[in-house]
Each structure stands twice: as structure tokens, then as C-alpha cells.
Symmetry: C2
Subunit: 698 residues, 2 copies
């Protein structure tokens, strides 16, 4: 069992198997079982030292210190004490995020001609009621009855039982390993263990409870808490019965208090409710995809772990609408050779985590990946992540196991990126079948279908409804529309039933969307079996949904990019690719002398004209210090202006990772920088100009 | 009096003159006075027909029909009945918005090397308490006592009194003109007029009330409602006493219900609370600017008028931090020649609306515009709006009058764009002095100052505080920090007072930020007059704030771009500039023949490679229909692939506005398109290739 590594499947929140679309990568709570922790420790994940360029072991605290110091991000309202799970991005963080999003937009929206949307964050409660979020997007919560401290019920049980098991091991003299935390889980309060040996039967019972902790509902969790005498860890007070806590932020729209709204927990519903307009925009044809980049919100009970589990986050979501009978993809050829690290469900079911290295072509051909379109997106997600600088050795695609998926889902794969927190789910890619469109369509009585001309006319027998509108309208007045809608929503079977009833009783009862029943007589309502020549096929398209958590990708990228110079563990470097780096070029005048000003302006204007973001550092710090500061910002290139620049029109160019420098005429250097920013490798580009050795790098 | 045209100044919400930063362009309610309506009708605004290319008069309904049909936008959750003031942008609207934002980012952030931020939408209530929004960002509201229908109190009074005045005029036989609505105002319910003549004294009283309607507070509005026997217009029921309604959406952060949050009504506070980190990022120096693009929210009582008054909107805000003693701008030279339509405050005070055409250099030199930095931004705002396609003849800068501005503001100008709704405030540009940083600094005890080395050392006499930390800490325990902070916040005057008190009583009382008083004896707290050599000047920078309402700009641009073909009023065209147009090139194969597929793919791939967004329309519609559809989407260029393309490798190129076509080799045409998208004019570019006359344009 490897389920720690994944987010907890939504249907475990309730006994239902109903599962809203959730933008797989976030929250939804992950579950932690003792057995899965053991499984994780067996995992073959590349160590940081293998991956990073540094000889130093990766230290998260060093990276985090750098990120806060250089204002990649900071706690929001820091001067007011901050609020957990809310972060502001400063200039380098914002630029990095903007560059990742820009690359995403080109890679997906432009390249694939997707239809971009910008739908509201503020969402009418009815929409999220239909999607299932109002009822099911919840966690079970308990409170310390005296202090009102809040715990997630399942995490409290886990925390206490695990602490008791640890105490048992200590008492038995076993060495207890500290676990690697997975921040994508809502973490439980740390509970201190006390070395007390337990009966063997109790150990077995605890282990059994922990193994199935995510299967308990609120009532069962409450019973467990009482049976196992679980109390608030720090105070020893009792805790309340578990209550459901919805993870959406709610508010009122308008002044009357009558319109309830939620901040969307994902962007997906905005695509679905607009399906008919999107389809029309696409001339009525599938396949097509809509895409949206924007903020979503989840009111986590206890957010932690920096940017990985937050209450406000940027998502990028694609909804690809496709014919359920034809999930081939016409560009699949172009990606089928791409080799991926895959972790299919059957391997996980056997408790293993070894990766299959297959091409996506092989994975689809063998049936491991359900269809070409899903496979195509998996490959495109891979290409995107590699392009922005994610280490392919620390990237895997993990398939959801049967018990993680909703009953209607055909297949689902998560792109997981390895970080110091373990494997982090960063992109979800699910085939959600026709579910989402079907539920909105049923709820609103708006057909959401594709109509496709048939190649051959089909002769079918159908029940055809006749309504005498002249009588119907006046009879039902303002309700006429909903009564008609209710009738029009009858399927063939229902129509046959009603036809029989009309024949028998000359009347039938129709329940409309307002919940009321209406008596409709056969004098104004007929149902006639009719032979119809069908020339059009009508179907609800399926949805394939790649859903990206931009903040998680950004943080993972920072970890993959970070290392420290061999000669000094405190000299951090972020080796971000030039396309993604917040600033591409640092302009460093050798001194604050005003003589340099015109030249600085000229160089920075020229770079700007080429679309290359640069920054001048004319502070009093030494050149070495200024470059070091800039290594921490991930700026790939630095140019130095000195008195030779004024005299000879030359400029030196320094590359961040190697610290090597070359020298050339200012326009030559700028041309080289432009090419380096467009993909030319330094190892190649640096050959164009002579090495600069005239000054010692500090 | 010309005050209709402006948003209502914030301080009119209360008797205080305290004015939070508000991103001038939105809400804040505008007030409507009968006198100002008259003023508006005198305004010299260019008529649509002068401005648009069309011979047809501008019809808003035709444009709106087009925008909904082509899915520029639509009501959010339309299939659920929608909610007022919430709109989704479809593909062309999203792309248009993305292109406007992209241009904004280049024009401001990149060009001016601003520090970009991405701060949270979810905002801790304390922050908005300090900024004044929690207490003052409100409208007065009344309810129909029986139906609970809600009205904005001032609008209800206005609506009823204006209807009575209209009835009076009708009774007197005068012709009553329909007013031009200004959608930036929160509109009142339309109240039907009845032709009843009023006493002359009553007419005078009503006019006097209407002229000062924005000066009444809630109590006074309540008295007016009773005195004038104003009732709910449709039901005739009485209305309740006015109550304040805060325009921010509120929610709870976390599960405890103890942390109150609001959705930000502007992005500005996110800049201010991060000032110290921004300053450090900028090496401790001013001037510098931060910039942020993002969603903000205002829970309007009654949103109307499409995209102009909405509950969720995209803003782009700049906070430029500058030395209060030196508001010169080092790039002012580069803009001083720019001529603008200016409407200064003294002209408005005289009840006039005629525009001064001055260069910004002249306006700053004459003191009309307060300082160079403010003038620089006004000019840059102008250049930005022109660049994206706003008609300069329908753009003016209106200065806030003294009674519109907060007491601390130095100057404020709004960029107003003329539309069919009148002049719409789209960008605010205010010099907010040191206000914002000062209030956050005072509230949080975090100094927010710039430290600048003085050229000459200054000898000053200062009161220096001494605290005996060894005793101080243990004495006040956990409160030691806030007691110390309170002492350290004393200014020179207070220190002199306290010194006298300590000398007299050997003790003083200090009130800390928790509201409690602490007794501090002179044994651990000394204040000594000391001669100090000051080498550093310390100051709170001033803030100049350009604040853009992207949705309003986008809608105004659509109005300025829209016209209908002379031969057919139903053939709408959006003449968006190529850089801003959602899609640059339509690719039209002459038929759906599969032979064209490889060529279509080649052309679209080549365009994509050049960064040019294109769209294929291979639907069955005629070429003419497809082009017409695309004119409505504002696509500037169309290329047609026909059998000659397959045979000779040629392609025709059609320009949207002129419908003229040229023909050339495919690569020549693509090169021409690329140049046209980079700024080459069609009148020039079209000379490169021979005109195409082989086929009749429909």
C-alpha cells in the first residue's frame, strides 16, 4: 500500500462514491496510515545530493531562509502577525510565477489552440451544490471541550495511536525512526510519545485502525475517540463529537443575505457551466479544450509547510471535451516516443513503488493508460514540467488506484514531483467521463450535448411529446416553463410509462424543478410512438482534466534549482532556466560613479527592447557580493560595466552556474545574451567571445 | 457643478475626512444631483458617429448583442439564472483582457522596472480596519418594511424627488428630456413620474436637497425620508431607518470562527503592508514603484450596466514611493511634450466642463498638476490607453475638486473615457502623501521609513531613552515588548513631557497597544537630552498611486472599436489594434476538403512559432460569412487557402477594416502578417504585395 503519497480520494469523506471534480492536486486531505509510512521509507527517490550540483546536502532551512530574505515570498500581513496558509509573493516570486504561467499559456493554450476562460471566483452556492462541494467537500473536526482548540478528527486519532505505538516500541527497546513528513497532508498535531509497552493485541488493534483510518465517517471517528480514550494531547481535556467542516470560504452576495456564495475551490465549474457557449464558439464540434488560470481557495483547518498547503492558490486547469466513443488524439504521434517514470495502480496494490520506464506510446498500447487523449496530456504535462526546469529524475506519474477514483472516472494519473517533503502531487490528469456536464445539465434542465451529423440515416422508433401550448400556458401561468421543462426531460422509458398513464387516467402528475406537482391532462399532453429518421447523433462529451497547482510546481522547482557553492555552504544559487528566471540579466557598474549612468541606461533600454528583463545593481556592495546576491535570485547572467566600457565599449558577461566570464563589445554581448535567453546553451555560446580573466571573481 | 461625472468622494460616506486608498476607479458610489445632470448635458463630448468609422449611429444594444453572441463575456452561472454584477469572460474576452494586461505589464512594470507583487485576495480584517475600509467603506441602505426589498437610501430619495420634479414639469407642460445614465453610479430604482404640479417652494426645496444629497449621513437621510414621505416606489410601503452596509465581502478564515477576513476591495493594502521588504529589495532607496495585477471585490448593493459596475473585477495598481521633498521624475523630460485634454478643478468649480489642451510639461510648470511624478504618470497612463486603442478624442483627465479629496491628498486626476454611458472613470492617479504607510506603521509599531545618508552631518538636540533591560524584561514579562514599543513610539514632545513627569514623580504610566496601562519607574526608564550628530535623514515616503480598472478600460475599448459596415448595419466590426486583438489571424480554407489539412497545419504552426495567435475556421459557412464572424471578433487579418495555394503555394491576405485583399507566396504573406502585428501599418504593408481581385468579397 502506497497511499500516503497520494491525496485522499474524495469519496472517503462520506459513504457516497459521488466525487466532484477537485483539481486533483490540492487539499482534499491526504490520509496517513502507519503502514503507508513504512511503505514510503522503502521508496526509491533520488537523494538531493545526487540531483543538485552541490557537494553539500540539501538543507530546506537554508533554501527557505534564502527565499524569505530575497522576498520570493513572505507570510501575508506579516506586520499584523500573519495568518497561516496565506502568502504574498514578492518581486522575484511574482516574476517566477508569471514566467511559469506564461510558459504554460504558450505550451498549452496557444500551442493547442485552447479556448481561454476567465470565470468568477465568487460562485453561486447552487453551482457548488450540484458539483457536490457543498455537501461533500468537508473534513471531520473535533474541539477541545475547554480550550476550543480545533483538530482534524482523523489526524487526532492517528497522532495519538501512532504516539502510543511509538511509546510501545521505545518500551520494547526498538530504535524509532523519525518519519519524513508529507506536507500535502493536513498534518496532525505532533503528539509526544511515552515509553509504555502495550499488549500485543492492542498493538494489532491500533495498526488495524490506522490502516483504515480514512474509511471512518464522523460517527465512527467519534466512537473510536471514546473507545480509545483519546483526549486533547496538550491539555488532556476531552474532545467534542466530530462535526463536518466545509473547506470552502462562504459569504453573502448582495445586501439581502439571501444569495449565498462561496469562493471557488477549483476553476473547473466555471468551464462546465459555460459548456454550451464554448461549444458554439467552437462551431459545435468536439474535441476542444477550455483553459483557465486563476486563484482558488480552500479554508484548510490547519495549513502548514509553506507554499505546499495554503488557503489561496493559483491553479491552471484544462477541460478537454471529447467524444466518448473516440478518445484518439490527432497529435498523439508527436509524443508517443516520450519515456516516462510510471507508477501504475497494480504495482501499488502489491505494495511496491518501483517505477516502470515506458514510452507513453507503450503505456497506451498496453492499456496501462486508458486512452490516447489522456496519454497525450500526460506526455505534454511532462514536457511542460521539464521545460520550466523540473528534474525529470525527480518526476513520476502515479496512477490512482481503484479505491481512489470515483465510480465514473475512467482513469487518473498524478504528476508527482520529489522534494524534501517527499513526493508531492503537483498536477492531476483525470478522465472524468460525462459526469460533470451530466449533473449540471440535469440540475438546470439545460441540454449539454454535441450534435453530430450521422454518415448514414438511422431509422428509430421514438416517443414524441405534443403539448397544446394555447391551453398549457394559461393553465400553468408562470410555472408553464418549468412544467414543460420537466416533461421535456423525461427519457424514453419514462415517456412510455406516462403514455400508459395518460391512456388509462386521462391525466398525469408532473413534478417540476420547484418540487411541486402539477396535474397535466391528456387533452393538452400527448405522447405518440413515431418512426423517426435520425440524421444526427447526440451525445454528452467526456472530459479529460489536467489540473495544475502552480504554487506547488513553483516551490518544487525552487528545490530542484537550489544548491550551494562548494567553497561556501552559505552561497546559495538558484539554477533556474533563463526563460523562467525572474530577471535575466544583472547590470553591474563597477562603481556608483555618475559617468556610468548613460551607459547603464543604454544597456538596459536595449535589453528591454529585446524583451529581456534586467535589473541594475549600483549599490555600494562589492561586485562579488552583488553577483552572490543575484545568484540567490536565480539571475542567469550578469554584465559588468567598468572604465574599459567607457573607453573601449566592452562589457564582461558572467554566467551564474559556472561563474565563468567572457568579454566583448557591448552589442556582441547583448546579442549573445539574447541568444542565451532564447535557448542557446552557455557551453556553446561562451565560445563566441574570449574568456575574461582580468579580474578576480570574489 | 460637474460632480455627476465623478465618483463620489469617499469622505462623504461619513462626517470624517479620513479617506482610505480606494483605487479611484470603482464604486465608492457616485452621486447624482439634478443640477449635475444638467451640467452633463452641456458637456462637449464627441458623438459616436464622429469617432466611429461607421455611417450608422452607435447603438449599444447592437454592440452588446455582438459581445454576448461571440462570447466576449456572459453572465456568470447563466444556466443557474446568474447573479447581478458577476460576469465570465469567454475566449475572445479573456484573450483581449490578457493582451491588455500584457501590454500594461510591458508598458509599466518592465519599462519602469517596477517591483511586481502578488499578494492575497483574502485579507485579515485588522489590515482593512487600519486602512479605514471596515468602518467607512459603506453605503446607507433602507428596506421596504414588508417585502424587504433593498434600496440605497440616497438613491431612493433622489429617485423619488426627481420623479416628483419630473411630474411637476409634465404638469407645467414642459418637455422632459430623458437623462443619459452614468453606469458608474449605483443606480437608483427607476421611479415612475406622475404629472402633478408642485408649489414653487417645494420645487426649490427638492432641488436644494438633490444638490447636496451626498452630504447627508444616515440619520439625516432617515429624517429626509420621513419628512418627504418617501416610500417604497412599487409597493407604497414604508421603508426602514437607513443602516450602513459595508461593501466588502466578509468570511471566516480557519475553522474557529475567530479570524475574520475580507476579500480585498483593492490591491493597494498588499503593497503597503510589504513596504519594508520592498524597500530592502530595492537596496533601501526611493523612488521605486511596486505594481500588482489581480482580482478585487466589492459587494455592490445593486450592480448594473454590464462590465462597468461589477462585484468582482481585475485591477492593476501601482504604488510609487517617493521622497516627499523631491517629487521630480528623472524621465519627465521624455513625456513633457505630450498634449492632454485636461479638466482642472477650478474650471469645474465654475460649473464648466471645457477642456484645456495643454502639454503635461505646461500643466506641471503652471502648478495645475502638483508635481512631476504625478505628471509623469498621467502622461504614461495616456500613452498606455492610446496604445491599446482608446480614442484620444474621447479621453480626458479630470482633476478631483477639493471636496472630493481627502485632507492629506496632494492632488488627484482621473483618466475618464467617453462611452455611450457618458464619461467613465477608468484610471485614478492620486498623490496620497505619507498617509497609508503612516497608519499601518502607527498601528503595528513597525517603522516604515527610508534612511538616507545626509551630505552634511547635522547636529541636533534629542531626547534619548534609556531602559534597564535587566529589570524591564522580568518586570513586564510577556508584555515587555509592547511596553517598550509604546515608549519607543513617543515623539520628541511626548518624551519631554514624560521626562518632566519622571523627574517629578519618579514614575510614569505607559499605555501599550493592548489598551492596558503600565507603571514604569524612573529607576529603569531614563530620558536624557543629548546632542546628536545626525548622519542619516529618516522619512516616510509619499505614495503616488495610478490605479486601473481593467474591465472598464476593456469595455470602453470595445465601444471605441465598434462600428458597422456602411452597407449593412448588422455587420459589426471591432477595429482592435493587432497587438490587442484576441486572435491576429483567421485561417480560412476555401472548403472542408482534407487536402487542405497539411497546409492549414503548416501555416498555423509557422504563425505560432512567430508568437502570432491564429484560429482556423474550416466550418461549412461561406468565406464571406466566416470573415464577417471574424470581423465581430476583431481579428485584423484573414488568410485564405484555396486550390491555388496547393498548386502555386500562394495565399490571399485580407485586412479587416478595409476588407482589401492582397496575394503572395505563403511565406511572403506570413512575413507581412508578422510585420503588421509588430506595428507596420496596413496602408504601407499592403504595398508589398499585389492586390487580389480574383474573388468577390461577400
Amino acid at each position: 500500500m502506497l497511499r500516503t503519497l497520494v491525496s485522499r480520494p474524495f469519496h472517503t469523506y462520506s459513504s457516497s462514491t459521488y466525487q466532484p471534480t477537485l483539481g486533483a492536486f490540492t487539499s482534499r486531505a491526504c490520509f496517513t496510515t502507519s503502514s503507508s509510512f513504512h511503505a514510503r521509507s522503502k521508496m526509491a527517490a533520488p537523494s538531493s545530493s545526487e540531483v543538485n550540483k552541490t557537494a553539500h546536502a540539501f538543507e530546506r532551512s537554508a533554501l527557505e531562509g534564502l527565499l524569505i530574505k530575497r522576498f520570493f515570498f513572505c507570510p501575508a500581513f506579516e506586520i499584523y502577525g500573519g495568518v497561516k496558509g496565506l502568502f504574498d509573493y514578492g518581486p522575484p516570486g511574482s516574476s517566477l510565477q508569471a514566467n511559469i504561467i506564461d510558459t504554460w499559456r504558450k505550451h498549452f493554450i496557444i500551442e493547442e489552440e485552447m479556448l481561454e476562460l476567465d470565470t468568477t471566483i465568487m460562485t453561486l452556492s447552487d453551482v457548488l451544490k450540484t458539483s457536490g462541494h457543498v455537501d461533500k467537500f468537508t473534513d471531520w473536526m473535533v474541539k477541545d471541550v475547554k480550550t476550543n482548540e480545533v483538530f482534524r478528527a482523523d489526524h487526532l486519532v492517528e497522532g495519538v495511536l501512532e504516539a502510543r505505538l511509538k511509546g510501545d516500541k521505545e518500551a520494547r527497546g526498538a530504535k524509532v525512526e523519525e518519519k519524513e513528513d508529507d506536507p500535502t497532508k493536513k498534518k496532525k498535531k505532533k503528539v509526544k510519545s511515552v515509553a509504555i509497552q502495550l499488549e500485543d493485541s492492542v498493538v494489532a488493534e491500533y495498526e488495524s485502525i490506522l490502516a483504515q483510518i480514512d474509511n471512518f465517517n464522523g460517527k465512527e471517528l467519534g466512537e473510536l475517540i471514546r473507545a480509545q480514550k483519546i483526549v486533547s494531547p496538550e491539555t488532556g481535556n476531552e474532545v467534542s463529537e466530530p462535526v463536518e467542516f466545509n473547506l470552502m470560504f462562504d459569504t453573502q452576495i448582495g445586501p439581502t443575505g439571501q444569495i449565498k456564495g462561496y469562493l471557488r475551490p477549483e476553476t473547473a465549474q466555471g468551464h462546465f457551466v459555460n459548456f454550451n457557449r464554448l461549444l458554439e464558439f467552437n462551431n459545435g464540434r468536439v474535441p476542444f479544450a477550455s483553459a483557465q488560470i486563476g486563484k482558488s481557495f480552500r479554508n484548510e483547518i490547519s495549513p502548514r509547510s509553506g507554499l505546499l498547503r495554503v488557503r489561496e492558490f493559483t491553479m491552471a486547469e484544462i477541460e478537454h471535451f471529447v467524444d466518448p466513443l473516440d478518445k484518439a488524439h490527432d497529435r498523439f504521434e508527436s509524443v508517443k516516443h516520450i519515456k516516462l517514470n510510471l507508477l501504475p495502480k497494480d504495482v501499488q496494490t502489491e505494495g511496491r513503488t518501483d517505477l516502470s520506464q515506458l514510452t507513453i506510446g507503450e503505456a497506451v498500447a498496453s492499456g496501462m493508460v486508458d486512452n490516447e487523449t489522456l496519454g497525450y496530456f500526460i506526455a505534454r504535462i511532462f514536457l511542460f514540467l521539464i521545460k520550466i526546469g523540473i528534474n525529470p529524475e525527480r518526476l513520476r506519474f502515479r496512477q490512482h488506484m481503484a479505491n481512489e477514483m470515483a465510480h465514473y472516472a475512467a482513469d487518473c494519473w498524478d504528476a508527482e514531483i520529489h522534494t524534501s517533503y517527499g513526493w508531492i502531487e503537483c498536477v492531476g490528469c483525470a478522465d472524468r467521463s460525462a459526469y460533470d456536464l451530466s449533473v449540471h445539465s440535469a440540475k438546470t434542465q439545460n441540454k449539454m450535448v454535441v450534435r453530430q451529423p450521422l454518415k448514414e440515416v438511422r431509422i428509430v422508433e421514438k416517443m414524441v411529446v405534443g403539448l397544446d401550448k394555447k391551453v398549457f400556458g394559461p393553465r400553468f401561468k408562470k410555472d408553464a416553463k418549468i412544467v414543460e421543462d420537466a416533461i421535456m426531460a423525461f427519457d424514453e422509458e419514462k415517456l412510455k410509462e406516462v403514455a400508459a398513464e395518460l391512456a388509462e387516467k386521462q391525466s398525469t402528475t408532473v413534478r417540476a424543478s420547484n418540487g411541486q406537482d402539477y396535474e397535466v391532462p391528456s387533452s393538452i399532453f400527448t405522447i405518440t410512438p413515431t418512426t423517426i429518421r435520425e440524421q444526427v447523433r447526440e451525445f454528452v462529451p467526456n472530459v479529460i482534466e489536467p489540473s495544475f497547482g502552480i504554487g506547488r510546481i513553483l516551490y518544487s522547482l525552487l528545490e530542484h534549482s537550489y544548491w550551494a557553492r562548494e567553497d561556501d555552504v552559505n552561497r546559495g544559487v538558484l539554477s533556474l532556466p533563463p526563460t523562467i528566471a525572474p530577471i535575466k540579466v544583472l547590470i553591474v557598474p563597477i562603481s556608483g560613479n555618475t559617468e556610468f549612468k548613460p551607459l547603464i541606461r543604454e544597456v538596459s533600454q536595449t535589453l528591454r527592447g529585446l524583451g529581456i528583463a534586467s535589473r541594475v545593481d549600483d549599490s555600494g556592495a562589492s561586485i562579488g557580493k552583488r553577483y552572490a546576491r543575484n545568484d540567490e535570485l536565480g539571475t542567469p547572467f550578469g554584465v559588468t560595466l567598468d572604465f574599459a566600457s567607457l573607453k573601449n565599449g566592452t562589457m564582461t558577461l558572467r554566467e551564474r552556474d559556472t561563474t565563468l566570464q567572457v568579454i566583448g563589445k557591448i552589442d556582441e554581448v547583448i546579442k549573445l545574451v539574447a541568444d542565451l535567453c532564447s535557448g542557446l546553451e552557455w557551453s556553446e555560446g561562451s565560445k563566441r567571445l574570449p574568456a575574461y580573466t582580468g579580474e578576480q571573481e570574489i
